[in-house]
Symmetry: C2
Subunit: 133 residues, 2 copies
């Protein structure tokens, strides 16, 4: 059988393609899908520590720290010390909330497009398969 069918490589390719698709949809906002998703998660959990956020989004703590710093530079997120002086707590700024509102319909459209491309129950089946990995 063809050796091109490495599940991992197929996943990585699909991930790049789909990310790029969402990125284009969100481009008018100046954020990519990774940033938009992180912003949403911060908003839901705010005020949240890096550690908790990292656990939620399944990324390394240091990765979340650096990604959050980018959002901070963009003015979308505020990073301030928590009661525990070790903690950096994150919250979405007013401009960040505006981005979330403006982005919602753009994200919805990309999401719907993908579902169309996957067919009626394709999206659900894909979700289940990915969850099994």
């Amino acid at each position: 059988m063809s050796k091109d069918l490495c599940h991992c490589i197929l996943l990585r390719k699909a991930s790049r393609r789909v990310s790029s698709y969402y990125d284009e949809a969100l481009a008018p906002l100046g954020v990519n899908i990774a940033q938009f998703s992180l912003l949403r998660n911060i908003n839901r959990m705010a005020p949240v520590s890096l550690t908790d956020l990292a656990a939620r989004v399944e990324l390394d703590r240091s990765t979340v720290g650096r990604n959050a710093k980018v959002l901070e530079r963009m003015g979308l997120v505020e990073i301030r010390p928590g009661k525990d002086q070790r903690e950096a707590t994150l919250l979405v700024s007013a401009p960040g909330k505006a981005i979330l509102l403006e982005g919602a319909p753009l994200w919805d459209r990309a999401q719907a497009d993908i579902e169309t491309r996957l067919g009626a129950d394709g999206a659900g089946r894909l979700r289940d398969l990915l969850a099994a990995l």
Copy 2:
């Protein structure tokens, strides 16, 4: 509906998890799945230009160039000018071929593990769904 089900984010997460799984499987060789896969592609197409290789693996030319340079530093790939003086042609070195041989069974096992986790026809369905994206 839960807003956690962004197809893109689910794909990215799965891609990270699965990549990490293959990376661990290949760790004894000192290469990760991206490098191993690139090495395989270079081997199949050798001697190959960066542009052709990039088209094959669906990555940006500059990305392939940098990734290939890492493989070169590792001594697994040779980069030499082609007849066309603009071209850099890639080929797998002897140590690189050894890595391909040693890696094959490790890759096979990871691949089989994933198929087990996906179930009988899960792998096929996943492949089809990813191809639709």
